[in-house]
């Protein structure tokens, strides 16, 4: 049987006729090898830069990152539990120039997608053949009345993004507040409904903080105001662990989207109730990093995330601009694991195309995420998603899902996962 898949694969949203007409003019970059500029050296951006250079060292790569070091979110919950220190979560960028990556520590503040250049805070103008945006997330704090004031007063923390220094990282500040809280206090964690960064993170955080309370302030309580109707991910595993290790300490309240916070009275208000807290941790709803808006690629129907072509990760809206990581609009989890994996698919597609070869139309995303439930147990979720170029979507393969139990062996795997993803991305 012969099946004709399709006659044309469109990699750019630009009109097909236009692309064809300009094809010969743009077939090769004007001067020698292409220059790819990548914004954001997190799990998406740093991985993409490294793998482009490993797979084709003739392609020029400039990686622009605001911070001097990478401030990892993975493992910060372990810090709150007292299992690790904040220092252990920070990753150095010192090895990336060794791959021939031109690493620039600066913030991109403008994109000219017609002339194909970016401008930075320090006043640099950098031209690109292709731009890869991997800026992570931005918080929609305006959806919660009083959030901005509370954050400015240091009383309301998200701890869902770290940096720009170790001392100012919100996980550092949250740890201090939990340490200063009297025994018998109430810690409120509020989380939004999906999609958002690391949907299992709030529940792991509850486990880790409960572990810390159990050791140091056993009369304390955790109230989870969950914007979703149930535990979003690994539900059975977390619920079992809460019962087994932290009986009576974690009060999970679903359908409880937070709308308001008053840091003076320390009252968190949801659609249903007012909760008095001693320490307040609110994870607001999120959208793709600000630079995505400036580049015009935050183009889903709500103007929140960035749709991409699943083969190249190029924006269908703005040619020559690719998006990776948490900023992408997709059915994939927003995780470090997926961001790293997307980055390799994008890198491979760019390398193939800049060597006049067809990119692979069948990329596969493997998504694994471990969560710790105590100081010696973790549990995984694992899903394989295969791109179907006819459906133009990543299709979840049968057999994937979460473990119902956490255990010692997965705790060991979880530790190894941290070391390996950091090494694969930054070392």
């Amino acid at each position: 049987m012969t099946m004709q898949r399709r006659d044309f694969l469109k990699f750019a949203g630009a009109s097909l006729a236009g692309a064809l007409a300009s094809a010969s003019a743009h077939a090769k970059p004007s001067s020698g090898r292409p220059h790819i500029v990548i914004v954001g050296a997190g799990f998406g951006g740093a991985t993409c830069a490294k793998y482009i250079r490993m797979w084709d060292p003739t392609i020029k790569v400039t990686l622009i990152e605001s911070n001097a070091q990478y401030f990892s979110c993975p493992m910060t919950n372990w810090v709150l539990g007292g299992l690790r220190t904040m220092e252990e979560t920070v990753q150095s960028y010192k090895n990336l120039p060794g791959y021939g990556i031109n690493m620039v520590h600066d913030t991109v503040i403008g994109v000219d997608t017609d002339k194909r250049s970016v401008t930075t805070k320090d006043g640099k103008k950098i031209a690109y053949d292709r731009l890869v945006l991997a800026p992570g997330i931005e918080f929609m704090t305006d959806l919660i009345e009083g959030y901005a004031e509370g954050e400015a007063a240091g009383k309301v923390l998200h701890a869902w993004k770290q940096g720009p220094t170790l001392a100012t990282s919100q996980a550092t500040l949250l740890k201090k507040q939990l340490e200063a809280m009297p025994d018998g206090g109430v810690f409120v964690i509020a989380s939004p409904p999906p999609p958002g960064r690391c949907v299992s993170g709030p529940y792991e955080r509850a486990c880790m903080v409960a572990h810390y309370f159990k050791q140091h302030k056993p009369k304390s309580k955790i109230i989870m105001l969950d914007g979703h109707f149930d535990v979003v991910s690994k539900g059975p595993m977390f619920k079992k662990a809460w019962k087994k290790y932290y009986a009576g300490m974690i009060d999970h309240r679903p359908y409880n989207l937070v709308t308001k916070v008053d840091h003076k009275s320390m009252i968190v208000t949801s659609e249903f109730e007012d909760v008095k807290a001693d320490v307040i941790n609110i994870v607001p709803k999120q959208r793709a990093g600000a630079i995505c808006k400036l580049a015009g690629v935050r183009a889903d129907s709500a103007g929140v995330w960035c749709p991409v072509n699943g083969i190249t990760y190029e924006s269908p809206k703005v040619p020559f601009v690719h998006v990776l990581g948490d900023s992408v609009a997709s059915n994939m989890p927003k995780s470090a694991h997926v961001s790293n994996n997307q980055a390799k698919i994008c890198a491979a597609a760019l390398v193939e195309m800049y060597n006049d070869r067809e990119p692979n139309s069948y990329p596969i995303i493997g998504s694994t995420s471990y969560s710790a439930t105590s100081d010696h147990t973790s549990g995984p979720i694992a899903v394989v998603m295969r791109y179907d170029p006819d459906k133009e979507a990543y299709i979840r393969q049968p057999g994937g899902g979460a473990s119902e139990d956490s255990d010692e062996i997965n705790f060991e795997y979880n530790k190894t996962w941290f070391d390996h993803i950091w090494a694969d991305t930054f070392a």
């Binding site: 694969l9 010969s24 390996h420």
Partner: protein
Amino acid sequence: MHVKASVFLIFCGMLFAVSAQAEDKPVCLIAGWENPASVCVAHTKTIAATCYICHGPNGKSSGAIPALAGQDKAYLVTAMKDFKAGKRETTVMKKYAMGYTDSEYEALGEFFASIK
């Protein structure tokens, strides 16, 4: 079998004319689709790089998750088949084994066996 008779790839102005005809060009299959051989090379190196996230860069492990680099090809292929069939105890590998094809097991086995 699926055949891409004549595929024009337009990549922002870069034009490729690829004719993947079984008679005169080497082809390889991914999930039943015929492709130029280069696509399968890129596919294998990319799916192998997915494994690095847990198993360590280049499949070289520094922790509890087993190393893949330098393992015997037959051992790796058998392991994947056993995970899929439920013959071997796993935490996440059965879920992965079910998402990949037999020919991907072979390609990955060969890839990791060749890393010293």
